[in-house]
């Protein structure tokens, strides 16, 4: 019985993730899905690792992943369900605005997830120093990318005019 409940929970979670991904795709915003989910998962895992190190209590990976993901996509949920356009202040949600115009956003997002995963593994197996150091690096990576980001244009002349640029 318990096994069936666990399987049902996993099936529900994976279905929900599929719905989220397909929704982003239907809006033509697959790139945004890549950025925000990976950043959310990565930061969630890094924070969970720090909690594990600090409290020596286990934090389930699913809780860390989904928690980080939710924090990361709050502005998109507000857009979809509250009809609220994005604002610069939404950087509070894991750099939701600045991450777009920072250096190599997709690479930074993937790096955040890979680091977050390794940090989480290190913390789970009591490699506390390594976990703490890598967690700080992981979160700092995202913060640094946001700090290095170009401002969102306030004039049309601020947009790129390079016609050789790949748009999508």
């Amino acid at each position: 019985m318990r096994r069936a409940a666990v399987l049902a929970a996993w099936a529900g979670l994976l279905s929900l993730q599929l719905v989220v991904a397909l929704t982003y795709r239907s809006y033509g915003t697959w790139w945004h899905w890549l950025l925000h989910q990976l950043i959310g998962w990565g930061v969630g895992l890094s924070v969970a690792a720090l909690v594990i190190v600090a409290t020596r209590r286990h934090v389930p990976a699913v809780l860390a992943l989904v928690g980080g993901q939710l924090v990361s996509i709050v502005p998109d949920l507000a857009f979809r369900f509250l009809r609220m356009p994005h604002e610069r202040s939404m950087d509070l949600w894991l750099g939701h605005i600045s991450i777009h115009t920072g250096p190599s956003p997709v690479v930074v997002a993937l790096a955040a997830l890979l680091l977050g995963g390794w940090v989480y593994a290190a913390a789970s197996f009591a490699r506390r120093r390594a976990a703490t150091a890598m967690a700080v690096i992981g979160v700092s990576l995202v913060a640094a990318a946001c700090l290095l980001a170009r401002d969102v244009p306030t004039s049309l002349s601020d947009y790129p005019l390079d016609t050789a640029r790949v748009v999508r």
């Binding site: 239907s26 809006y27 033509g28 915003t29 697959w30 790139w31 945004h32 890549l34 990976l38 998962w41 895992l45 286990h58 389930p60 990976a61 699913v62 992943l65 857009f79 009809r83 609220m84 356009p85 994005h86 604002e87 610069r88 605005i97 777009h100 115009t101 920072g102 190599s104 956003p105 997709v106 690479v107 997002a109 993937l110 997830l113 890979l114 995963g117 989480y120 593994a121 789970s124 197996f125 980001a149 170009r150 969102v152 244009p153 306030t154 004039s155 049309l156 002349s157 947009y159 790129p160 005019l161 016609t163 640029r165 790949v166 748009v167 999508r168």
Partner: protein, 150 residues
């Protein structure tokens, strides 16, 4: 202790699976010719950061208006049309596309659009080749302009 170790191993396996999926998706993204930051990271940002008058674009009947720049004047049938509260203009003019910082719209058929408020100020600009299917997104932004916000 054994139970903790078993839980930890299981959770680390979950994380490794998520990482593997993410690596595959990112590899797919780059393998299909996409940039790490399409249009310098400014594609479909959904942030009303502009307030600029541009010659050649005017709000239809003083309503918030979407001006689409594309290389063809064959208007695709929108999956969901914009509501009647908003104006819609389609242009294939390369000069206008350039003035609106959307040069690829007419030169490489990568359509884009700008949104105007009722005073004909350009408030938002993005490339979006799938614009005809994204009425929800456009309406949320236009609705905000209608209310005089932003």
């Amino acid at each position: 202790m054994a139970e903790h170790s078993s839980r930890a191993r299981r959770d680390v396996a979950v994380v490794a699976a998520v990482q593997a999926v993410a690596v595959a998706l990112v590899a797919g993204w780059f393998a299909t010719g996409h940039a790490s930051a399409p249009d310098d990271g400014l594609v479909q940002l959904d942030l009303l950061s502009l307030s600029e008058r541009v010659p050649g674009v005017t709000a239809v009947d003083g309503r918030p208006t979407m001006v689409v720049l594309t290389c063809t004047d064959l208007l695709p049938v929108p999956a969901r049309e914009l509501g009647p509260a908003y104006g819609l203009v389609v242009s294939t003019d390369p000069q206008l596309a350039r003035r609106l910082s959307l040069p690829l719209a007419t030169s490489e058929c990568q359509a884009g659009y700008v949104l105007l408020d009722g005073d004909s100020l350009v408030r938002y600009r993005t490339y979006d080749p799938g614009w005809a299917d994204h009425a929800f997104e456009q309406e949320v932004l236009l609705e905000h302009l209608e209310g005089g916000h932003g």
